[in-house]
Amino acid sequence: MSGGPFAADHNDERRARAANGTVSGEPFNPFSLAGRTVLVTGASSGIGRQTAITCAAMGATVVATGRDAARLAETCAALEGQDQRGHRGIAADMAESDGLARVAEEAGVIDGLVNCAGITVMAPFRMTSEKYIRRIHGINFDAPILLTQKLLAGKRIANGASLVYVTSTTAHIGTFATGIYAASKGALIPALRALALEVGAKQKIRANCISPGYVQTPMLDALNAGTASIEANYDLAPLGLGQPEDVANAAVFLLSDASRWITRSTLMVDGGLTVHVSL
């Protein structure tokens, strides 16, 4: 057992519960997150906030992190089961190494991680700069990878844990003016496939990605407020615009024992957007 001092206990309890199929007194629900601690990044808004809320509703103890302390506090106030489980918020900027170290230090031992923190700034290739590339990659790729590294090195990821990374359909498609953003998200996919091999056989830690299409979030609103409106793209998805709940539910599936055998995989949660594209 190499999951830290508390990891083994955590894991045994979970296995027993999985074998039983139920948490005592609760109906059959292989999607339950009861008894697990889930770290959610980018939890101060959009997909991250909803993921924190949904994980709490499914029984998890949530450690929520985000840059904006006030908005993070709003997320924490919306989490079900605060009195029984003691959810926590850690306000930190993970683009800074101090912030990253603090999240890794204060999160405790986790059974799940959902990386939702990310930024999008559209720019055509001829307008990109070194500074722009470093900023986008710093937040979208370096931060989740370094956070994972620190958590692993600090033995903060319990055996049997599930790691989930929110990428983007544009990482598969490549759309106008999203080259750098798409690359920063796309880079996560093979990196985590490799990680999943390293921690799979012995520790049974899983790593998967979710690639969402256009989801109704403050990030999308901000993009539309810019010069290049992308509203016309919404109708490309057969099922239209998605809601943060859709991504949050996919994350719960990947966090729970229901997906026990799924690792190194990428789940398209896109209203069918990518059916148009030869991938």
């Binding site: 629900n29 292989p30 049974k204 099922l239 859709d246 996919a250 055998w261 690792t263 896109d270 990518t274």
Partner: protein, 257 residues
């Protein structure tokens, strides 16, 4: 945990291939998640065993329709039509019926092709066609096909089987587009090796054991169980995946080579 988004309460789900393995477990798990299940398979006796398991798992809700069982050979049009007739209005279908087809391309015949494609591709497509034509699927319904990782990676000796599963994956993208107006969704599950009694069919006990161990060692998370497939099917059949369509969920225990 009020309002579980993965609940199937109030939904009727049709499960084909329900007499064994993945289909059987999916039927039982759907019932445990609150669904009313319509079972179908060729083998009457094993079908009734599944029905017993189902009643035990979830006896049904008072005032709601009980679970149903319809014997049908989906390669026979009359059987398939009767199944759609008896199933009534449904909210989801899990196409679990399928056969393995083991033959190097050098050894295949038209008969073999017809058999594998017939059961694995023609039958689920024609059943889907019938359900849609008869308006049996309610708006917002979910169609789940059982594909295979063999459709994504090359494996010795299963060319036609792989092709039959790849055909489902290709068709599902178009089906997803066609049915989006009614918010009916269509997706595939691609599973690698799942431990079912049929897995070592044709091998001696010793050969079977050795082969299974070799396969388990190749998968970082070991081989799959029917439960794993059933749980992924529940995700795709439930409202939790209402914005997921035209795609394939890969489940393979992390196998690389």
């Amino acid at each position: 945990m009020a309002g579980n988004p993965f609940s199937l309460a109030g939904k009727t789900i049709l499960v084909t291939g329900a007499s064994s393995g993945l289909g059987r477990q999916t039927a039982v798990s759907c019932a445990r998640m609150g669904a009313t299940v319509v079972l179908s398979a060729r083998d009457e006796q094993r079908l009734s065993q599944t029905m017993d398991m189902l009643r035990q798992a979830h006896p049904g809700v008072a005032g709601e329709a009980p679970h149903k069982s319809v014997r049908a050979d989906l390669n026979v049009a009359e059987d398939m039509h009767a199944l759609v007739e008896q199933a009534g209005k449904i909210d989801g279908v899990f196409h679990g019926a399928g056969i393995r087809g083991l033959a190097p391309i050098k050894m295949i015949s038209r008969k073999f092709l017809d058999e594998v494609m017939g059961t694995n591709f023609h039958a689920p497509m024609l059943l889907t066609q019938r359900l849609l034509m008869k308006n049996a699927l309610r708006d917002g319904g979910s169609i789940v096909f059982m594909a295979s990782t063999a459709a994504h990676r090359g494996v010795h000796g299963v060319g036609i089987y792989s092709a039959s599963k790849a055909a489902l994956i290709a068709a599902v993208r178009c089906l997803a587009l066609e049915q989006a107006k009614r918010r009916i969704r269509a997706n595939c599950l691609s599973a690698d090796l799942v431990e079912t009694p049929l897995l070592t069919y044709g091998l001696t006990e010793e050969e079977g054991k050795a082969w299974l161990q070799e396969q388990r060692d190749k998968h970082p998370l070991g081989l799959g169980t029917p439960d794993d497939v059933a749980n992924a099917a529940i995700y795709l059949l439930s409202g939790a995946s209402r914005w997921v369509t035209g795609t394939t969920i890969l489940m393979d225990g992390g196998i690389t080579f």
